[in-house]
Symmetry: C2
Subunit: 153 residues, 2 copies
Amino acid sequence: MRQDNRLSGALHVLLHMAEAGRPVTSEALARALDTNPVVVRRVMGGLREQGYVRSVKGHGGGWTLSCELERVTLKDVYEALGSPQLFAIGNRSDNTQCLVEEAVNISISEALADAEARLMARFGEITLAALSADFHRRLAERGGPATLEEIHI
Amino acid sequence: MRQDNRLSGALHVLLHMAEAGRPVTSEALARALDTNPVVVRRVMGGLREQGYVRSVKGHGGGWTLSCELERVTLKDVYEALGSPQLFAIGNRSDNTQCLVEEAVNISISEALADAEARLMARFGEITLAALSADFHRRLAERGGPATLEEIHI
DNA sequence: CCGTATCGTAATTTATGAAGTTACATGAGA
DNA sequence: TCTCATGTAACTTCATAAATTACGATACGG
């Protein structure tokens, strides 16, 4: 089953924007993600609605962060994307009069809901600042200072 | 994203077989699932390989359980199906030289792995016997004795 | 004001994999 | 031998994220 990569892409973009410190165009972000500017704009739309980023048209325009990295978690980003479907498995049908299926559905649904709650709790604990710090840690370990080229901006 | 319903379907079929107490044809099982006999055979293939069910061709043939309901968990069934992809979300790319993406990927992957472990633990605790008991509880609550028609066999 | 850079978005195409379907071979009982 | 079943390959359908195309709107620089 094909995967939904929007969360991964959005986080990647947000961290790149944090490094840039100035407006970054969809074009440049798309290059970092190896994708298309339209895909970037689509993904960023939800983040803009939640006030996490701003976009400016025209010369010198592009995307800038408008939030504090400490205050935004992976859960916030996930929800800004519209809380995409999390699981690739699910119940065969949800309105059933078959009691066997009812028993099966409930047990699967409860287990999935539990796993989802756990995942959201984890996502809620990870801030963009933590991700950024992790990135800088890796950068330091690998040696050498960051250049704009190194982070593809 | 479209869902994978094989686990739900397999469990449904197994419980119906447990009620029947005699070989049930793919045709009959497909009717209970409102699907196609070929789909049933495909799903059941993995269960047969693990020895949870047997199939017999020809007159009076069909599928029968060959395991004790107490000894088989949802996890066993899930794994017999080939451990289908669990999450609909994932990392954009797994081989990256971008440290930003690396940091993002690891944090998402760890959270997903944690949720998956939790889900598998839950699945490992639920036996087919428990599902069957739950079904019979619902049947009793709804009143009236079970007939073969009621459970679509 | 004009030209260009940039976002906004609708419409279309592509890609993927489960589900559904068709077709036919194989095997087992009556 | 005939019919009932499974076994399986091949093909079609379906849903949806991603990718692409196209065009409109806006903002800055000259």
